[in-house]
């Protein structure tokens, strides 16, 4: 190529940026298309129900086990910090707030990206490689409507449910370590939690976060699968991109959402 010319590098940079912008525009158009299909999709709820089952059920074990261990660690670390100030009885509140506001939605979204997101990308990428999406188009069925839209809604609905399971199991884990093992007073553990956690400000924020993460992670996974190169290498690259992009998006969005929620 003509890299010897001084402006070639600049041209390459411009070409790269233009292509990235085109990708972003393409993704936005697909997302808008998916949104306009929402009424049709929700009317045929059987397809969405199947996806909630697949995405939710397959991630349930990893979510529950992770939630338990995160709860254990929160119990230990929380007790270590709180007993310095002589307020170990507030352990229940600390564990519940950490999980419901922050760790539940975020860790669930990260695990969901790794478990369900990659499965979605691979499934759709392989459907593309096997000409199944082309075949569907030739049968006059829009693959975006029939394949992508139910999966997006399945992910949006499954994510808050999984985050709830994560938080609930995590709180049980915190109780096991804090109350059963260390011996924090059980009455204050639960009553401080009950008194200090607000349904709207805390639980509501957590649910809102997990819905936003559900949209983000599922859409990234679907887009990567849909745009994957229809080859084995293409699908494997797309699966990797799903984990990287979805995780970064979740962590970035988490900061933005948290900042917004504290300022409101």
């Amino acid at each position: 190529m003509n890299t010897s010319k001084p402006w070639a590098l600049l041209a390459q940079l411009g070409f790269g940026i233009r292509r990235k912008l085109a990708d972003v525009g393409h993704a936005c158009r697909l997302f808008a298309h998916l949104l306009t299909l929402s009424p049709v999709t929700l009317k045929r709820f059987g397809l969405v129900r199947d996806q909630i089952f697949f995405l939710g059920n397959y991630s349930l074990a990893i979510i529950a086990v992770s939630g338990l261990f995160v709860g254990f660690v929160l119990g230990l670390q929380g007790y270590y910090t709180l007993q310095r100030y002589g307020s170990a009885e507030a352990l229940g509140l600390l564990v519940a707030l950490s999980l419901v506001r922050e760790l539940g939605p975020v860790v669930t979204a990260l695990l969901f990206a790794g478990r369900a997101g990659t499965a979605l990308t691979a499934e759709i990428g392989l459907m593309k490689a096997g000409e199944q999406l082309s075949a569907m188009e030739m049968m006059a069925v829009d693959p975006v409507r029939r394949i992508l839209a139910p999966r997006l809604w399945g992910g949006i609905i499954a994510m808050p449910l999984l985050a709830a399971v994560f938080s609930a199991v995590g709180i049980l884990g915190g109780w096991l370590v804090g109350v059963v093992m260390i011996g924090v007073d059980e009455g204050s553990f639960w009553s401080q939690m009950q008194g200090g956690v607000d349904v709207w400000r805390d639980v509501g924020n957590g649910i809102l976060k997990s819905v936003v993460f559900g949209v983000t992670v599922t859409f990234v996974a679907l887009y990567q699968g849909f745009e994957a190169q229809a080859t084995p290498e293409g699908v494997s690259r797309a699966t990797t991109r799903t984990v990287v992009q979805a995780s970064l998006a979740v962590l970035g969005l988490d900061f933005v959402l948290t900042a917004l929620m504290f300022s409101l």
Binding site: L126, M127, G130, E131, Q132, S134, A135, M136, E137, M138, M139, A140, V141, D142, R146
Partner: protein, 298 residues
Amino acid sequence: MKAGVAAGFFNFMSEPSPPATDDLVELRDLTFAYPGTEGTRTILQSVSLRIPRGKVTALMGASGGGKTTVLRLIGGQQLASAGQVLFDGQDVASLDAAGLYAMRRRMGMLFQFGALFTDLSVFDNVAFPLREHTPLTPALIRDIVLMKLDAVGLRGARDLMPSQISGGMARRVALARAIALDPELIMYDEPFAGLDPISLGTAAQLIRQLNDTLGITSIVVSHDLEETFRIADQVIILANGGIAAQGTPEEVRHSSDPLVHQFVNALSHGPVQFHYPGPSVADDFGPGSATTARKGRR
């Protein structure tokens, strides 16, 4: 009699302008090029061809010669760079999404490896277009699906998953799915690739049989000379972006064109070169070539 008049009337109502032609599909002066990294690569250059109704037309030619592209252009999955694709007198490129989907409901396509939905059983695969496009009751859909599966000899395989059946069976299931909505045109993309002799013979016989009994128009893209020549009414050979030969199998077999001669007789030497274009032998291996130059430098 009365029904006939009514049907004629409704036909007249639904298709006012274009008169029914003898050709279901027509390509007019069609050019197709892929934009690539090293400039555009022209696949088809000013190709004009006609696919007559009710006949089996075979599209043949070397790999990468644009045969599958022709099918994708007819189905509207790709758009031509120049020229027109007419399906029943309608320009495919001029249709909007709804029009394109309406047109595709009149076509069936059999993909190279069947492209069955791997998460659905054989029965559900064939039922798929019916469930998506018709308001038929489950009982009726069951009967239609079993009839279509019976036509391809796989009524007994209804409960199997695509992973449990052979490649030849998968293609027959895909064929049953393609004819589920009783299309006017079926396009077969390499229906014989990778099949054992028995499955191959069965597949070829099925294509001919379906064409004749259902009055469908068929386009078969294939490399397999023997089987294709046996079932086709018309053979079109594509090469170098254009049509190299066209006619009945007998006419094409005895064509004097050197390229067609090479293809039909499966010769390794002829107008299609064995060697990929590149530097000459002397440039690569002779004195002063890269190998000797490197040696000299050491």
